[in-house]
Structures are given as structure tokens and as C-alpha cells.
């Protein structure tokens, strides 16, 4: 996974699509459903996670040699929890409404598997700079997915985006989109869509490779 030849761009980029935390790795699914019924919440959550994951990757990669493997998990968690608590305190002080809207999920950032997973899989084995990009990429992938889900849910489920009405009054919102079942089904369909897109890309790549390499195979035999 942590191939030394990877460029920083590749490290960053993989989190966006190929290893998207939500759609591909299926990690940290709870916020993807719980706080995406409005774009604002989705964005706030996405950014919080982006910040936590990046900061934590940096911290972990800095201290990685010092941590005893037997308590690796508790120590990493302590680090994450510290960062989250700081975020909580800051939000509470400066954005109290957002703080309320994200409610318990803000605290739950601590246990989002993606953060610990990046710490274990990447930051614990790499230096600061790649770790930063890894965290930033994964966080961005997460935040992007959150916002995407949020936009779709809010747009169809309420007819608004960021609370501003987008569709005309004649639009009768499909309420289910902002309710739990709609969230589940939407993500299911999005995962399928992304798989289809992946397959399509794969096919294109293969077709190109083939066109270049092998001669035509049509039979001319009698």
C-alpha cells in the first residue's frame, strides 16, 4: 500500500475515488447517513473530519517511533480524541449552532474507522509529508462524498440547497430522501453507480491496451 514510488499526488488522489472512504472502503458510514440530510451539516461534518484526519495523520507520523505497539490503538485513539475535543471546544465557542446540529456525531468522529485506519495503515509507517497528503486526500474524499450525498438528499428531499429554495413551489419534495430509508437506498445506488463507472473505465483502459498491442484476430482460414 505504501509504495515508496508513489507521488504525493497519487497519495492524495487515491482517497478521492479509488479508495473513497465511504463508497469504496465502506468505513465511517454512520455520518454519511446521519448528517447528510442537509448540505450544511454534511459540509461541516466533512470539514471537521478532514481536519481531524489530517491533523491526526501528522501527529501519528511524528510520534510513530515512540509509540509502543501494544498500546498503539489506545494511543492513536487518545490522539484522535484530543483533536476532536479541540474541534468540539472551538465549534462550541465560535459556531454554537453548528455545534448543536452535529450533536453527538461530532463526538463520534473519534471512532470513525477511517481515521484510525489511516493512522494504522499509513501514518504509522510513513513520514510527515506523505502522511499529511494521505490524510488530506482521504479527508477530502470523505468530505466530497458527504457533500455529494447531502446535495442530492437536500435537493430532492426538500427542494433546497444550503437551505435556499432551488426548485419552484410546484415541486413536491420526495421526503423519503431526507429520511433514513432514502439515505440508505441512495447510497446503495451511488455505490452501484461508482462500480459501474469503475467497470467502464477498466473496460476503456483494457480496450486501449488491446488496440495498441495485438493484431486483428479475425479468421481468414478457409
Amino acid at each position: 500500500m505504501n509504495n515508496p514510488n508513489q507521488s504525493l499526488w497519487e497519495i492524495f488522489y487515491k482517497g478521492l475515488f479509488e479508495q473513497n472512504p465511504i463508497f469504496r472502503l465502506a468505513l465511517s458510514l454512520c455520518p454519511a447517513l446521519a448528517v447528510t440530510s442537509t448540505v450544511v451539516n454534511a459540509l461541516a461534518m466533512g470539514l471537521s473530519v478532514l481536519f481531524v484526519i489530517t491533523a491526526n495523520n501528522v501527529v501519528v507520523s511524528l510520534f510513530r517511533h515512540w509509540v509502543n505497539p501494544k498500546v498503539r490503538v489506545p494511543v492513536f485513539i487518545t490522539s484522535i480524541a484530543t483533536i476532536v475535543t479541540v474541534v468540539q471546544l472551538v465549534l462550541e465557542a465560535y459556531f454554537p449552532e453548528l455545534f448543536k446540529a452535529l450533536s453527538i456525531y461530532l463526538a463520534l468522529i473519534v471512532v470513525f474507522a477511517i481515521i484510525l485506519a489511516r493512522a494504522e495503515v499509513f501514518a504509522a509507517k510513513n513520514t510527515v509529508v506523505p502522511s499529511f497528503f494521505d490524510g488530506f486526500g482521504m479527508g477530502a474524499g470523505f468530505a466530497g462524498a458527504m457533500v455529494l450525498i447531502g446535495v442530492i438528499r437536500e435537493l430532492f428531499g426538500a427542494g433546497t440547497i444550503f437551505g435556499f429554495q432551488v426548485f419552484s413551489d410546484a415541486y413536491n419534495p420526495v421526503l423519503i430522501m431526507i429520511l433514513p430509508p432514502g439515505g440508505f437506498i441512495l447510497i446503495g445506488v451511488m455505490i452501484a453507480g461508482i462500480n459501474l463507472f469503475g467497470e467502464y473505465q477498466e473496460k476503456n483502459r483494457a480496450a486501449k491496451a488491446k488496440a495498441g498491442a495485438t493484431p486483428a484476430l479475425q479468421g481468414s482460414e478457409a
Binding site: 490503538v73 440508505f184 446503495g188 462500480n195
Partner: protein, 193 residues
Amino acid sequence: MGEYFTLFMGAVIVNNFVLTRFLGLCIFFGVSKNLNASVGMGMAVTSVMTLSSILAWAVYNYVLHPYNLTFLTTIVFVVLIASFVQLLEMIIKKHAPALYNMWGIYLVLIATNCIVLGVPLLNAESHFSFLKSVVHAIGSGVGFALAIILMASLREKLQYADVPKSLQGLGIAFILAGMLALSFFGFSGMIPL
């Protein structure tokens, strides 16, 4: 008595943690491929959550709340639970390797899972009494177990179905969960909490 029953049933069906409150989804989707593992996981989550809730209740009510340190709840609870679960993991690994193999890395995931942290946090936020905390934790665990067992039986059945390739695995699991959640709407409004 009635109050506890309402709390319990509310957590199990009406406001099922997985299907309406979105907690514990990673293990819900991760482990529900196999029915036996799901039964085990359901029990594991219920017991871990109950025990952690007891611990967390004690710490919250004797330390954090009296000394106005509620902003430390997150970090204290998470370290508490993670350490506790890791201890549990070691014991199981040693004494019940078969069980350990079945859960694989998911036992580690329990340690840092939102449902296991979320329930104690909710207990603290709602200032539940000790008994209520325990009932709530058990109810949430049973609700989780119910959801994951149902889900696993559905997914096992779909193994034999002609599911389109792009939906196989996670995609269809989400759609199933959506339909399960839609069915659980039938209980909505039943026990106002």
C-alpha cells in the same frame, strides 16, 4: 416498570439504532454477510455496550459531572472503552480462538465503533439513571442484534439471487437496509420517547 419497558422497546424497534439513528453501520454492513457471525456479533455488541455503559456511567456520574468536566466526556469515554475492549479481545483471543477467528478484525472495530461509544454518550447527555442507562444499553444492543441478524439472513438469501454485478456486495446491502428501514417505519410513532 412501564417506563423501562418503553425505553427498551423504543431502542429495539421504534428508534432502532441501526435503522433510524445510524449508529454502528460499519459493523452492521461488515459482518452481516454471514448469519452465524452476525449472531455472535450481535451478542458481542450487546455485552460490550452494556459493560461499557456501566463503566461510563460510573465515570461520568462520579467524576466528570461533579467536577464540571463534561467537555472531557468524549476523550475519557473513548479511551475507557477502547482499552476495555482491547482487554476483552485479548482474553477472547486466548481462551476462545474460534470465536476470535470468526470476528476477525471486527473485534478491534467494536473497540472504536460509534454505537459502542454513542450509547454511553447518549446516556450521559440524557442524564439517565444507572438502571436506565443499563436498560437503554441492552435495548440498543438487542436492536442492533435484531437488525444485523435480519440483515444477514436477507443477505445470505441473496447469495443465490441474480443480483446485478455492480450492486453485489455493499450496494445491495445498502438497498436492503433501506427497505428494512422502510419496513420499520411501521413502528414509528408507536412509543413516543
